[in-house]
Amino acid sequence: MIKIDNVVKTFDGFRALDGLTMQVGKGSIYGLVGPNGAGKSTILRHITGVYRPDSGSILVDGQPVYENPQVKQRIFSIPDELYYFTSASTRDMMRFYRGIYPNFDMQRYEALRPAFPDVNERHPIRRLSKGMQKQSAFWLALCCQPDLLVLDEPVDGLDPVMRRQVWSLLMGDVAQRGTTVLVSSHNLRELEDVCDHVGILSHGRVLLQRSLSDLQDNVVKMQVVFPEAEAPQLPADLQVLHTARTGRIHTLIVRGRADEVKSRLAAFQPILLEALPLTLEEIFIYELGGEDYEVRDIVL
């Protein structure tokens, strides 16, 4: 669905995107994660055709996005900072989007009303709370029936019930219409629940991108108790990303499949050897550790 190739974008000498390359498959829910300033919002604005890249290409279904209304009418974006016309209500914005997006479905608008019971559609949006403004945005976005939905910190401000409601609606769209969802968020636990693919950005580049299952299968957390109190010298080709020790229990984050890693550690005849799956948050932290972005122990 989305193919981004070697995109560079510079703001006043600062290279916000530095040869970014990534692909998003059709009908997938792709989570874009990365530290602050990694270039997540910048690449999203390129994908929605707001920014013009200095170089590189951004294709949606094989066509460039920038200045291409045929492609853009299939994309809807909910940015981290929402904008509505001054004094416009949800209903006003509905009328506006109805005239702009050819796929806008009025019946869907009516049908979705019960999903957002707290949003007064005749009330100016700027007077609504942040969470309600977000609900209004999702309501309108779903009515536009986009093939690609680009979300930047989408559920920020929504209560847990509404989060679940919104994700349920989105996943329904993905299942029924094959909508592709590209979502950027710092809430990795939530992304873990909904994303099937994840890309990690750092310094304007994609550090890695994989399906979530591949990502989780490729890194394993091992809890080991060796016969000796100190850990033995591990093989050099065993990619240990992180080690920690609590009493005699050693926790190792190792790159590789769980069964392979387990069999290699078994050679040390450990008293305890257990493989645990990593959360996305743990993968994020340990992968970025190699990018000089690890959690530092600061003593104050």
Partner: protein, 674 residues
Amino acid sequence: MNWEVRTMKSATSFFNPTLLKKNLTRYWPIWALYTLIWAYALPVRCLMVVSRNQLWMGDTPVQQVKTFANEIPNLLEGFGTFMAFSFGILTAMAMFSYLYNNRSAGMMHTLPIRREGLFLTGYVSGLVCLLGSHCVVWLLTLTAEGLSGYMDLYTISIWLAAQSAMCLFFYSFAVFCAMFTGHLLALPAFYGILNFLAIVVFSLVDYLVEPFLYGFAGLPGGASTVVEWLTPAMCLGEEVRWRRINSIYRLEGVAELAIYAAVGLILAGLALLVYRRRHVETAGDVVSVSVVKPIFKYGVALCSGLCLGFWLHAMFGINIPGGLTGNLLLWTAIGYFVAEMLLKKSFRVWKAWRGGAVLLALVAVGLFWLQMDGFGFVSRVPAPQSVVSVKVEGRGGYPYDEGRTADFTTEDRDIIAKTVALHKAIVNEHHNPEFGSGSDSESFGLNVTYTLTNGTVLRRNYHISMWRDTRLARAAEDFFCDPEVAKLAYDLEQIDPQRLTGAEVSSLRNTVSNKAEHITLAELRLSGTPYVNKQDALQALYHAVLLDFEQGNLGKRYLFDLDEERQLNTYTSDLSLYWDVPQTGKHTLGYAAEAGAGSVTISYTDFMEITLTPQAEHTIRVLTELGILDEDTTMRLYREIVDEELRAKFPEGDPNSLPDDAFVRAVTGSIDLY
């Protein structure tokens, strides 16, 4: 819905009706206010004229409405320009306000509309606001006129077309400015500055160069025409006029309106090109187009130096040596860093000092070059043989009459040589000032334009003081007191004797009442005189003046007011002659309009003052025959007045033992010698 259907070419690519509708509904207060103001100015006023029965506009309601309708295009003058100027920028600010905020810019550019579509829709929305208001007001005015019993489609349509043309230009110009900035408040600032930049810079350069280049006569006249065109508010405000000539109302300045409207469309096209290249992320930046940033930075620096440096010098630094140069450099530097702060949106801009240093160095070198007369401007005096003709605008010599102000163009070799000699003496005086003895000094002005044999033009302007018995004074006397120069200065040939309309003699002394009198020919009874009517008397007076000039009895010039010869040979009385000057053309100061067969002739009254002398025997004879002069009504010599002042100032002094400068003090300190 299949893919083919969903990717059909959208009809909304270049123009989007939904966006147009949204713009019109969002910004309704602008067009509503605009319509309301014009509604009060036209249809409401029309109804009020009739309801109040304003008799000065006509006896009947129909006549009153007719008068009102005839005056409608008068609103184009000043008020119409102001409205177009003000609402042009307001409308542009509204229609393109989304460019100045990151959120709105992001949202608008995610919409499936090309930039051409966003621009054209925004541009057309603004035009619909303004021109739609005009159409509404046009219709309402016609309705109001119709209700009052008279409809004048012509005048209201003239207003509609002219006001629309002005709005088209100012709105397009504002849109053009809007494309270069990412800050909403910067837009009106840019718009205002660019509208008046040419006239301000032109005036400042004129003022600034003068102290550095002695004799600088201002930028060439052609430049002022360009400046006027580059200052649209001024040009339209002055050129668009609704004139009544021969009972027919005509709109002047139609060509200017058409040209500006066309320029407006061109600017709109250029604005679109800029918009296509503009980066959305520049929302919030003072300047949004990178190639314009250096122009902005150095432009602000130079304008700051010119405006603030010059103004503050004039306010506070007049007597400080190098004050002007120092002020110019200081405010250029301040302007440079302020511009840098605006561009970088930070106060920490000192790293950019290199650019500022280079700019200051260039400005300093430029000013030094000017001061040192690097172009040889100050010293340049043409050789008499290289001059084809000379245009002189001089002010000098006495008495105070028409001859004091010379304004002529001549190819006379002798006068050219004297002009060049005076010019040379002025330049020498500037390089080697010469001070005379005593307290007797005078000043004169000389604005000279040479047309040289190589086709170029050389202009200089001087206002200079001189002392008696100096080289400059002798050259000035050779020029100003030359009979041929005086003849050109008086220019009696400009009077058409057949069009003489009146005469007057001022400062006569009535010896009975001992009061001053002014007598005009119109006050006289011609019975008992040799003249049958006023025209006959005027002809005689004119020919007498002519004869006195030919014989040298009138028109003799003196360089110093206190010359004894001047005091003893000039009266305090002036003869004024009045005549009509017929004139046709666009810019006439018509006081009276005459109906001609198929042509329009407007005339204004001109007049000439000639100081009378005891030698003007022919003129005095006619004045005596007319009864203006008699035993009781006489003229007084200039010396008599000066003596009176002396006696009043030094009542007990012996005239022979008065201090050297008593005479000067008496005269210069006198209240009114006349």
